[in-house]
């Protein structure tokens, strides 16, 4: 499979209530950020965790968020601070153009 997103693409993290062994932190679910880097393809931990083979491999991205978007007024750091998280492609939806 090839990576669906490229550096700079805006993406929203899915907030679908999925349970189980997920590696997408709660504080980014439902939040919008952008692709900072494409890490490559890796076996899926959501399957590996239960003895599965983790295939097909999934594209993994470094996704960046504005701290203010994550924490709102609770964030007291500098304006423009960012936070980056590794997120698999099946957790991301495109944002932008007519859909945004």
């Amino acid at each position: 499979m090839t990576a669906r997103f490229q550096r700079g693409d805006r993406v929203r993290v899915r907030a679908n209530g999925q349970r189980g062994h997920i590696r997408t932190p709660g504080y980014v679910r439902g939040k919008t950020g952008w692709i900072e880097a494409v890490h490559g393809e890796f076996r899926n931990p959501e399957s590996l965790a239960y003895g599965g083979d983790g295939l097909p491999k999934r594209a993994l991205y470094l996704v960046a968020f504005d701290q203010a978007d994550l924490w709102g007024r609770r964030y007291r750091g500098a304006e423009g601070d960012r936070l980056t998280v590794d997120i698999f492609e099946h957790w991301l939806d495109p944002v932008g153009g007519d859909n945004d």
Binding site: H21, P25, G26, Y50
Partner: protein, 106 residues
């Protein structure tokens, strides 16, 4: 995110999480042993990292919170070993009782 169910290990930004304890400490012998046994389980192909994490995350939240870092590793290893039929809970408990007796632990 309000609808999202966050498991016990998913702590980032939790208002009640409290500050991070950054105190450094020398690892004790049992902690090195826990690390060694976990490495051996991986090297033997008995479990992968994601299985180990999933096992730890499946501990009841109050148990998870009460355990130290490497105690969670040990608890996770027990879950995997039982799950895969390599040891039984009874065998593990019997061995622990035997060691408690030998070492005079209460």
């Amino acid at each position: 995110m309000d609808d999202e169910v966050r498991a016990v290990h998913d702590r980032g930004g939790r208002p009640d999480a409290g500050p991070i304890d950054r105190t450094e400490h020398q690892l004790e012998d049992w902690e090195h042993l826990a690390e060694g046994i976990s490495g051996a389980l991986s090297a033997k192909g008995i479990r992968c990292t994601d299985e180990s994490r999933r096992a730890m995350e499946s501990l009841p939240p109050d148990v998870y919170e009460s355990l130290k870092y490497y105690e969670r590793w040990i608890a996770g290893a027990e879950i995997i070993l039982i799950e895969k039929g390599i040891l039984t809970r009874e065998e593990i408990d019997a061995k622990v009782a035997e060691l408690d007796q030998r070492w005079g632990a209460g």
